[in-house]
Symmetry: C2
Subunit: 327 residues, 2 copies
């Protein structure tokens, strides 16, 4: 186990914008040791007043859509052109890759990885979605207290994790491939309707024409979607991360969004709503985890599930049967 310091050490280092202190605090947040968790709680509590001053951007898309390459290009733009300090976090609970998804593809983010204005933190390995969601939420707070002004939260758009990311960011960016065919099979239903912007990736070479056509198609499709209370209507952009095109437009779209939602109470309200969401989500998750960890439940569940599947018992009768073990 790595060395531990008193809470004040982490708090001071983070407020002094020190990366080592930040990394060490994130390690605590990700730890499952009760003593680490308590220390983490103390640090978070003290840093909470210094958090909130960033733009939190969710970035999702199916594997291979070009997330890493886009983040490299877009992140470089944000730090170099916009002169903003950027933190990149990842939610990737299904990742088999050790060290998470981000540092795994160093070649695709090498410019950003060597950039003093950028801080890249891979997804913690071997954690449940609930666990990663929690540590990512808390890492956002730590990064903000450490002076990061833009935060990317990356996730692979194939499971429940996009919904979790959607609930922790201000702006939700969906990367899509042109030629919306079988490639899309992987993405979950409902995600498209969550997007504040769609970026058609790899808009270069042979692909450029297809990307332009896709932009038009998506733009008219998004018009049909229900609007949000934000008053914002989702935009579609095309970008080539390799040729560095469309990057400025994506940033301008985010700025336009912020202008729309900060011109009123929506931005703050959304964040407050997200806070409440995580309070309730965290309670829900803990209650369920505890219930399903009970030996009697573990023993009875498979048999009951089988009966439910075979139509021998109704779902509700089975639930009642199991709930006998709840106390």
């Amino acid at each position: 186990m790595a060395k531990r310091f008193p809470a004040a050490y982490y708090v001071e280092r983070i407020l002094a914008h020190d990366r080592l202190g930040l990394s060490r605090a994130i390690t605590l947040v990700e730890s499952t040791l009760p003593s680490d968790q308590e220390l983490a709680r103390e640090i978070i509590q003290q840093l909470l007043p210094f958090s909130g001053n960033s733009v939190r951007i969710g970035i999702t898309g199916v594997p291979g859509v070009g997330k890493s390459t886009f983040i490299e290009a877009f992140g470089t733009f944000v730090t170099r052109e916009q002169q903003k300090k950027l933190a990149v976090l990842a939610i990737d609970p299904t990742s088999q890759r050790t060290g998470g998804s981000i540092l795994g593809d160093k070649t695709r983010m090498e410019t950003l990885a060597g950039n003093k204005q950028a801080y890249i933190r891979p997804s913690p390995a071997g954690k449940s979605l609930g666990g990663v969601a929690r540590s990512t939420r808390e890492s956002i707070i730590l990064c903000e207290a450490a002076g990061f002004e833009v935060i990317f939260v990356e996730t692979v758009g194939v499971g429940q994790s996009e919904t979790a990311v959607h609930e922790m960011v201000d702006f939700f960016l969906l990367l899509m491939l042109a030629g919306a065919g079988d490639e899309l099979q992987g993405i979950k239903k409902g995600i498209m309707e969550m997007a504040d912007a769609v970026v058609i990736t790899k808009a270069d070479g042979q692909n450029l024409q297809k990307a332009r056509a896709a932009r038009a198609e998506y733009q008219s499709a998004l018009h049909l979607f229900p609007r949000t209370a934000s008053g914002w209507s989702p935009k579609v952009a095309i970008s080539s991360a390799l040729e560095n095109t469309g990057i400025t437009e994506v940033w301008q779209t985010i700025e336009a969004y912020l202008e729309t939602v900060q011109n009123g109470s929506y931005f703050e309200q959304k964040r407050q709503h997200q806070n409440l969401h995580w309070l309730h989500e965290s309670i829900r998750q803990t209650l369920l985890d505890r219930f399903f960890a009970k030996p009697e439940v573990k023993e009875t569940l498979p048999e009951l599930e089988k009966k439910v599947l075979q139509g021998e018992v109704s779902a509700f009768a089975a639930a009642e049967e199991l709930l006998k073990f709840s106390n």
Copy 2:
């Protein structure tokens, strides 16, 4: 309190396709009295082997889109032209109208209400979504055992109830108005992507052109959506319930869907998956209800929520604080 009979009475009456017996059993299913619930459980358990033989169709759309009028026309077609016995149930937990949403507008369903082949049951009043979802699920079982071959589950597409309906039907029909503008504000994000078919309503008179244009727009938009494992791609139809047009097409679409999904294991798998969903959903709901009913939780929650909203405490720290009361 109404008279109660032994379980065998309800079971026999329902298997003899008697409506009074069915109605009485549904009343038990909807009752909150523990003795009624136990009786209901017994009836359901005995009828379970006789259930499952219907096509379950969810029908949703914003208020005023024309659900009642469409159900009147479509239901008349199903019973008269297709000669099928039809049950119409409703999930409408937010309804202020006494007697639920369906019988409220008798004028719009008068043909169907007088139709011997059709059975209309309003949404139970004054219940939570969880409660209505449960009683609707169990009513479906009762209706199937009573010989109904087609079941409509209607809901207003403005809350969580569409998701609940989506989890209990084979086919999910979304009614939409042409001129997708502000009218759509009410519908929840993600619902469009759940639809197996979209019907543009009120395609008559001045509206016909707009409806045709909307059909083309939606059809190309739906192509961009992620596909399901079913292999089905969602269809768009236009219909005028007043002029009785497009009704046959909607039925043919449902038949085409059934052909697609029954030609393999998808249909059965989806129902099994739904059963498991309700098992877990029911456990989740009960655990949460019990937790939030605890006096200490009730007392502490508002204060903690306030602190979370004001950013004084992190969502996770607040959750931990509350979870101290969980046992």
